[in-house]
């Protein structure tokens, strides 16, 4: 299992550095800008008051924008589940199936490595890669605090990142499960991506339309803590997100234990044809 873990993590090197450094630079820029924002907070409040409520709904509590926690939450943590969710969806859906689709899994699985070891090795590498990206982000946020008046504290800066980690693990394992039950990696990634975007919008829109609140309760991003995390993590929410991730991973593992490994180019099973497509095919 450790060989699989090391090899998979090595393959993630580019993604860890790419995502991590890009987001760390964004964090550094935002923290560096904080002093300027704090100095001009009255003008900012005036500006934010003329924003339409539909827009500010997605940003969270804008009245706290001039506080250190409010600033990093609104400008960074509030939309980070959507940005890093792309990484989680693409990586989770391809964790096993991309190698299967290009024919590499066949040879690996002919070696004395159990399916469970292969699955766990790769899943752990995904978790480690996600943690590594968040750790680089964290560095990008805390290092510039040395020359900024922002005083969140190095340890407290981890709190929203932990909530983000739980969201990413949930979407990653959901994508992994979808890749085990849908015919192709592309379809799994597309489905998981749509769920991610839908979750983001439903969570935001439920803040301005209370009719959407029951639906939003089913949305994973409803339980993401950005600014709230600085006041303390909601243990039940965190456990719920992580528990869901464990359930998705367990179902994906169960499916992987039982499925045939395809060879490269073989393709998977197809979704049933729609009635009009069947008729068109019959006529040709």
């Amino acid at each position: 299992m450790m060989t699989i873990f090391r090899y998979t993590l090595r393959r993630f090197r580019g993604q860890i550095l790419g995502w991590g450094i890009a987001l760390a630079l964004l964090g550094m820029l935002l923290v560096s800008m904080y002093d300027m924002i704090a100095a001009e907070q009255e003008q900012f409040q005036d500006l934010l008051e003329i924003y339409p409520p539909e827009l500010t709904a997605f940003m969270g509590d804008i009245s706290t924008m001039a506080t250190p926690e409010g600033w990093v939450s609104l400008e960074f943590f509030s939309f980070m589940p959507l940005i890093l969710g792309i990484f989680a969806v693409l990586t989770g859906s391809g964790l096993l199936v991309s190698d299967e689709e290009n024919g590499r899994l066949d040879l690996i699985m002919a070696h004395p490595v159990s399916r469970a070891a292969l699955f766990l090795g790769r899943l752990l590498a995904f978790v480690a890669a996600t943690v590594a990206i968040l750790a680089i982000c964290w560095l990008g946020l805390v290092v510039p605090m040395n020359w900024s008046s922002m005083d969140i504290g190095w340890g407290r800066m981890w709190l929203p990142l932990l909530s983000l980690l739980a969201e990413l693990l949930l979407f990653g394992t959901m994508s992994l499960l979808l890749s085990m039950v849908l015919p192709s990696r592309r379809l799994a990634a597309t489905t998981a991506g749509l769920l991610l975007v839908a979750s983001f919008f439903i969570t935001g829109l439920a803040k301005i339309n209370e009719n959407l609140e029951p639906v939003a309760k089913l949305s994973p991003l409803n339980y993401h803590q950005a600014q709230d995390a600085f006041q303390g993590l909601n243990g039940a929410w965190l456990a719920g997100l992580l528990g869901s991730a464990v359930v998705f991973a367990a179902l994906a593992w169960w499916r992987f234990q039982r499925r045939d490994i395809r060879v490269g180019g073989e393709g998977g099973w197809r979704l049933p044809s729609l009635p009009f497509r069947r008729r068109a095919g019959a006529g040709s």
Binding site: T3, I4, Y7, R11, N102, G103, R104, D106, L107, I108, M109, A110, H111, P112, V113, S114, R115, R258, D260, I261, V263, G264, G265, W269
Partner: protein
């Protein structure tokens, strides 16, 4: 199943949706044997091998590999087996050496690296370039080396010489003979008859997911159809030849020559020909390829 049996399949069945890839394969391969598995594309060769390694799960039948049920303990089977897939895909960004070291690590670094170097030198395989820069033939060599490098008890090779030049094909076949000499069992699929004829002690022919024949190559050749070309000193009436059991007239030329197809022994034909003014008599030894194609003649007629 005796202890001497390396591979056993009974009534092995596998379908992909509506396609019945294996319809009840029966096989038995003895330990230390080189066994050829012949069939055209789509006959079920790869599916059989992948069932033996538990890469796919059969719908029915029994399989034992080195006495182990692959579904019950796939890791034990895989630990004693070297496998070369029909279509080899490796990480294109790894070097050949990196790929071999990674695959060796998956086996707990069991391979002796001096032996790996010997193999790569014999196959003239460059180890330093990335896989993506290797030719198809060199990629296939990586596949051959990784299958052999840990000196497995059983080799399951799906088209091992695919994409190799004739010299390297010969070298790979020599490596298979050496593996057998070291006690390994070799089970390899192919649709190249000459290589099966060159190394296999027994051959199974698979047709539409069913093994239709298992025999030594020489027995198959003896049993097969031959062609006899007879030339006469003067035009003759060849009708007595057409009446010989097992003989079919394929073509004739003004009664001075005739091309015959003979099934089984030639004795009856030669006795009848003794009464003719024969100037020349040639027979062609059938290749394994012709024998193999004979098994598929029925399919072509059906189509």
């Amino acid at each position: 199943m005796s202890e001497e049996t390396a591979l056993m399949a009974q009534g092995l069945k596998k379908s992909y949706g509506k396609v019945r890839a294996l319809r009840g394969v029966d096989l038995e391969v003895q330990r230390g044997e080189i066994f050829g598995y012949l069939g055209p594309n789509g006959a079920g060769k790869t599916t059989t091998i992948r069932c033996l390694l538990d890469l796919i799960r059969p719908d029915g039948g029994t399989v034992r590999v080195l006495g182990i049920d692959p579904q019950a303990d796939p890791v034990a089977v895989q630990a004693h087996t070297g496998y070369l897939p029909g279509e080899l895909h490796l990480d294109p960004n790894m070097t050949a050496e990196g790929a071999l070291r990674y695959l060796n690590a998956l086996r707990g670094n069991k391979a002796d690296w001096d032996f790996v170097r010997q193999l790569t030198e014999r196959l003239d395989l460059p180890l330093k370039p990335p896989i993506k820069n290797l030719s198809h033939g060199n990629k296939q060599k990586v596949g051959v080396v990784q299958a052999l490098m840990h000196r497995p008890e059983l080799l399951l090779l799906d088209e091992p010489t695919l994409g190799l030049d004739p010299l390297m094909q010969r070298e790979v076949l020599a490596l298979l003979r050496e593996a057998k000499a070291d006690g390994a069992t070799v089970f390899f699929s192919s649709h190249i008859m000459s290589e099966v004829e060159a190394v296999a002690e027994r051959v199974a022919i698979i047709r539409k997911g069913v093994v239709v024949e298992v025999a030594e190559p020489a027995t198959l050749i003896k049993r097969a159809l031959r062609r006899a070309n007879v030339r006469f000193k003067q035009p003759v009436d060849i009708s007595p030849l057409a009446n010989v059991p097992g003989v079919t007239v394929l073509s004739q030329d003004d009664g001075t020559s005739v091309l015959l197809q003979v099934e089984g022994e030639m004795d009856d034909l030669i006795k009848v020909l003794a009464a003719f003014p024969v100037s020349d008599f040639e027979t062609e030894r059938p290749s394994l390829e012709e024998i193999f194609l004979a098994y598929y003649e029925d399919d072509q007629k059906e189509e």
